[in-house]
Amino acid sequence: MQTQNGEARRSMDGNEATAYVAYRLSETIALYPITPSTPMGEISDEWAAKGTQNLWSHVPKIVEMQSEAGAAGAVHGMLQGGSLSTTFTASQGLLLMIPIMYKLAGQLIPFCMHVTARSLATHALSIFGDHSDVMSVRQTGFALLSSASVQEAHDLACIAHAATLPSRVPFLHFFDGFRTSHEINDLEILSDDVLRAMMDENAIQAHAKRAMTPDHPSIRGTAQNPDAFFQAREAANPFYAALPGIVQEAMFRFASLTGRSYHLFDYTGDPEADRVVVVMGSGGETLRETSLHLNSTGQRTGVLQVRLYRPFDSWSFLNALPASVKHITVLDRTKEPGAPGEPLFLDISSVVRAKGSTKWPVLPRVTGGRFGLASKEFTPAMAMAVFAEMQSDSPREEFTIGIEDDISGLSLRYDKDFRLPGQKFNQAVFFGLGSDGTVGANKNTIKIIAKKLNLHAQAYFVYDSKKAGAVTVSHLRFGKEPIHAPYLVESADFVGCHQYHLLEQQPVLEAAREGAIFLLNTPHGADTAWDHLSHETQEMIIAKKLKFYVIDAYKIARETGMGARINTIMQVAYFALCDILPLDQAISEIKSAIEKSYARKGADLVQKNWNAVDKSVEGVHEVVVPTRVTATMPRPFPIPVEAPEFVREVSGTLLAGRGDELPVSAFPPDGVWPTGTSKWEKRNLAQELPVWDSALCIQCNKCVIVCPHAAIRAKYYPEEALAGAPETFQSVAFRSPDISGQHYTIQVAPEDCTGCRLCINVCPAKDKTNAKHKALDAAPQAPIRESERLNFEFFESLPAPDRTRLKTDIVKDSQFFVPLFEYSGACVGCGETPYIKLVTQLFGDRAIIANATGCSSIYGGNLPTTPYTVNGDGRGPAWGNSLFEDNAEFGLGLRVSVNDKETQAHEMLVAFRDPLGADFVAEILAADQSTEAGIAAQRDRVSELRNRLGRIPENLRSRLDGLADYLVKKSVWIVGGDGWAYDIGFGGLDHVLSLGENINILVLDTEVYSNTGGQASKSTPTGAVAKFATSGKSQAKKDLGLYAMSYGDVYVAKIALGGKDSQTVKALAEAEAYPGTSLIIAYSHCIAHGYSLLHGLEQQKLAVDTGYWPLYRHDPRRRVAGLAPLVLDSPAPKLPLSRFTENEIRYRFLEATNKERATALAHVAQEHVNARYEIYRRMATSSLPEKNS
């Protein structure tokens, strides 16, 4: 960020545009990451780290807190301390701030926070945009100011900061999550002069003077009694009465300074409109463009954009509307089930009813509609339908737009093919993968176009919810006029498909306009590319008269040493085909951008990229499009026909990128979704597969245990089961001291493997004559995909080993249990998922999992397909996500309920002991379920119990039937990351640890908030660089295990699969068997650590060997034998800590940026390691006194 001395135009997204202002106008900032507001905090932290000053030549102090509630609390203190403060949040984060928001408003504290409006988690979580969150705080007393575009977010941020000071009413400034927060658009930047002119210095001083200080003491936050509270509450009324005027005055001042004019309610349209739509947020832009079109055809329509929603100024609202209005439709981007209408609709209805008669002799009709929940598209076609509905003879009082509601019949029909005529800008869509750099290249393209051609430009990116093989779709627009089109490109002049396989998987050509250019990255040349297309694709190319070009970008990338990065190659091809900028100039600009990006990283890198650029133009070839479709091959459907109907019809449609077409009836109304759906989605991400050499294999099953995606499996089975095996199916005699006469196979699921190579890396079986060859080697996927697919199909048909003969605490045995967590969307090489998979293998058939929000809830429960599945008996983990902050409590509640059900079942058995059989009941009640055999026997008893239900009174049979399964021991798991366990959920976790319930808590510790992009948590170790710890974390990592041990009766283990897999398996088995609370802290390597996860297990080993991650088990049961409960499972550190840290970017960052600090922190970190080991060593070698003795 640079200080602006005059207004300058620049492209940026809504988050940066807002943070720019907030940062300059704040002295202190408290933060907590939450999508989609996280980038505002991150960029503020980066500015502060660079020493960027605010308007008063001061670097704001930034504090990352443990939760949004923490951030709000900190802000409250900062404000009462006299600072100008801000914070950024969204969704559940905003809800966590509500109690403090009441305080801030009640105490009349000038403050402005910025919110990227986002859905609230209801039947499901959604990270996307609507107004559910901000509507949930409309009662707090905060002023709510709404922006509808990137420029407005920038401008109204300033107006909000300016207006809060004289008004003393705190402000919540909001804009649409993703649609505005992540849209890149060009905007006029506010200069420091403008910002200064907007800020009332006297009001700032007055705020500072109100600070809590012993020099002028006061008391705040008193408790008031019935004699005082009510009157005092009403005493603030004049401040709210004055606020609309203050805001409008600030808007006038702003207009005089910038020429950009805003009002509390901005009306656009025909001055004599008969129909007006009232809306907040970005949907207003779409409505305005549509209204303009309608008015050009002689209709009389208008749009009223609400900016100041609270306090709602009724007179300003009425004055803004034309007197000619007959019908007002209020669009709410939220849903309030059970209410007589959505909030904005109700407000406006009541204002019109109460005060409208002063303006209209006959009150206009007011109807309401919902739109755009969770970033559902709102297009001109939908806006047309809204205006059309108002013209109908009997317009609906309540409707939805943008979906097909075949249950309640509320939805308006709209013409999906409608496009606003007279397209004013050039539009392009690009389909790519996150890993190929498509988005980055497009961001760069927008910059070049905006800067060099002085055009207005807009970019919006649609990202995947999968972390491995993530698909990105880039939507670009540019033109001579400002771009007000907050919806996806629907009529593209150019479509680029950067990944060949996406062409038949995604609706790539849907958005192409007639005559558009279509560029495909394909290994097939111009002469054969056509023949490799499906019937439907060929049909569309011909029907739309597309100009079809191909390029083999991967070949060029290989030849120029670019590996898999095809971004610049495709970018050059785009400029070569689109006549936007002279090609030479475009190339020169691209090269200059490359130099800027990579100069610090080495001249060779720059040169390689330049070489790729030079090779790109000659790589583009036109395909002669025949006049007729020649293909017979249909477009493949993403889900096999043998999948269950729901998966085929619903999941399949979502996978095909056509989820918007599904009607309401397709969805479960309570968000309860079937498990076991990921196996139907064959993603084929791996370029190479592990290939098994059965002769070399030592049958250790290590490859199986480390696989993050359960894509390589082991089985032993009787020889006769091999009948009918495919020709290439491999099998060898099973080596086991206990089991003889069986065969053994390691089999890869070729279409589910992501190619991480962890299995190959961990394989210890080397060819003694050629150490390069191991029992698992990598081989290209394509040639063996089909044969391995058949092999895997056959493998799955083989009988699973008998669970009762397997030991749960031995690595090899553990991997014969069927994984009930498979093919998740986790990152390639993920370090968390092997632990979850292992838990499901050992206990999944009786597990209930409470999962905190974070990576594990996203790869565990994000549609379209989910990885938790069932075994052959139909049993498997029951999985649920409540929230981020309450996961421990949620899991506790599940345990309490399970216990209670079990108790009720016991009570019924006792009550009906005689008819059911006294011995039989005694057997059930006293059953030993500590082994798989014991559990199997109890299941048999439960089955027999059901046979005997006829012996008890008829009216109680179904009740006991419902309770009977609880007689089989349930395994309750609370799973989450370190952000949850160490920070936001720590209070709940601590409470659960203190209760002694039989609960297993698995902390997947990546030492950062991985899901939101690597922000520091209290688990982040000393010296590691993370977001919000840009200069390296100074403090030590919290020792959560030691803390839990202090309760005395908690089983605690620290594990690292790559450090010692036998200890991992043993600890999990012990923890589950422990009849109290268990806490397992699992070291989880992560892409946020900054190294190739191919080496994840080696790095885990180094973590253990250096003492960075000591392995231990703290088992309170050992006290009974007079032993110290703590057992150290790893030896004293045998390597310096640097051997571990030197391999990770998170540590090397600091060395590269601040060597001296890195050295100092490394020294401190080593001391921490040494001291911690010494503490553990002493604990492990001495007995602790009995608890409560």
Binding site: L433, G434, K443, Y463, D464, G602, I1087
Partner: protein, 330 residues
């Protein structure tokens, strides 16, 4: 008595230079070494691989995970943009220059002509007094001849000469077919000195895990003999400054090095084993030895037992081999 010597055109207070190692990483340690008598300090090497392939790999790694997933468009703070480039190294040159008054020699390690050579210029701009170009090449390609390999060496040297005005020495391995000829060509290509020899990270074999493990052992006095031979052969034949690197642990090692023709002796393992004080002791012992043997200055001693000046030149050649074998027989 004068200990001064000239190396690469730099006037040094003694022949005792701290060789390329992590010893220069800490400015305080550098200062201590200066106080203990070090006459110059060679920094640890900036590696070609660090500047090219590793940087490219890490860039690709971080880029490939960015802009993929809506909740995490990146995973590292932007302001801490990771650069494996030479910034820190270059900054460190300045830090050392501020802390010590002895010459600071930057070290660049590579084997192929390429963009990384340009970093020599950056080292010069950052204040390095000289550069040590460590050409660390292990030929594995059976299609590549010795001549081709030497030609590549010359290309790298010419490349560096074209970039910098400050002097630079070339550090070689002992495995070249004709070192005198190579030295001549190295001089013609523009280098100012030779450092004999670099010590490879020797691959060791793990016979249990069937792995190859790179290892580096600290040197011992036994490594001195190889260096003495080539030092003696090159002294006087080439105008290049000569530095002996590897095997100087005791005063007699140092005396032998100078007598064989070394302008400077690079000390590393001794200091790593016994601390900076050991350098001071070595220099003190060396001075005492000179006094005892009535040498007025180092120049008098330098090369007195070189191939050219030796009473028995054959001892440095093949005859030496025969004699040693004969002795062994006895």
């Amino acid at each position: 008595m004068k200990l001064t010597t000239n190396y690469l055109g730099l006037e040094l207070k003694s022949p005792f230079v701290v060789g390329a190692s992590p010893l220069g990483d800490d400015p305080d340690m550098a200062k201590r070494l200066e106080d203990c008598g070090a006459s110059a300090l060679v920094m640890h090497s900036l590696f070609e691989e660090q500047l090219t392939s590793e940087s490219a790999a890490l860039t690709a790694l971080t880029e490939s995970i960015e802009e993929s997933y809506a909740e995490a468009l990146s995973y590292f703070p932007e302001s801490a943009e990771y650069a494996l480039g030479p910034e820190d190294y270059l900054d460190h040159i300045s830090r050392l220059k501020k802390r010590v008054s002895i010459p600071v020699i930057a070290s660049l390690n590579g084997r192929t002509p390429g963009g990384w050579i340009g970093h020599a210029k950056l080292m010069e701009e950052a204040g390095a007094d000289a550069i040590e170009l460590n050409i660390y090449d292990v030929p594995t390609d059976q299609e590549e001849s010795g001549a081709e390999l030497e030609a590549r060496v010359m290309e790298v040297i010419s490349g560096v000469r074209g970039k910098v005005k400050i002097p630079f020495a070339v550090k070689l391995s002992p495995f070249y077919s004709s070192l005198p000829n190579l030295a001549k060509n190295i001089h013609l290509a523009g280098a100012n000195g030779l450092v004999l020899f670099n010590r490879f990270y020797q691959p060791d074999l793990d016979i249990e895990d069937l792995n190859v493990e790179p290892k580096l052992f600290l040197s011992t006095s036994s490594e001195l003999l190889l260096r003495l031979r080539w030092m003696a052969i090159l002294h006087g034949k080439s105008p290049l400054s000569l530095a002996l690197s590897g095997g100087v642990h005791k005063v007699h090692d140092a005396v032998k090095g100078v007598m064989a023709g070394a302008d400077v002796l690079q000390i590393v393992s001794l200091i790593l084993r016994h601390g900076p004080q050991s350098l001071e002791t070595l220099i003190k012992d060396f001075t005492a030895w000179m006094q005892e043997h009535d040498y007025k200055d180092v120049a008098e001693m330098r090369g007195c037992l070189s191939h050219r000046n030796s009473p028995d030149p054959g001892a440095f050649e093949r005859a030496n081999y025969l004699r040693v074998l004969q002795l062994w027989k006895v």
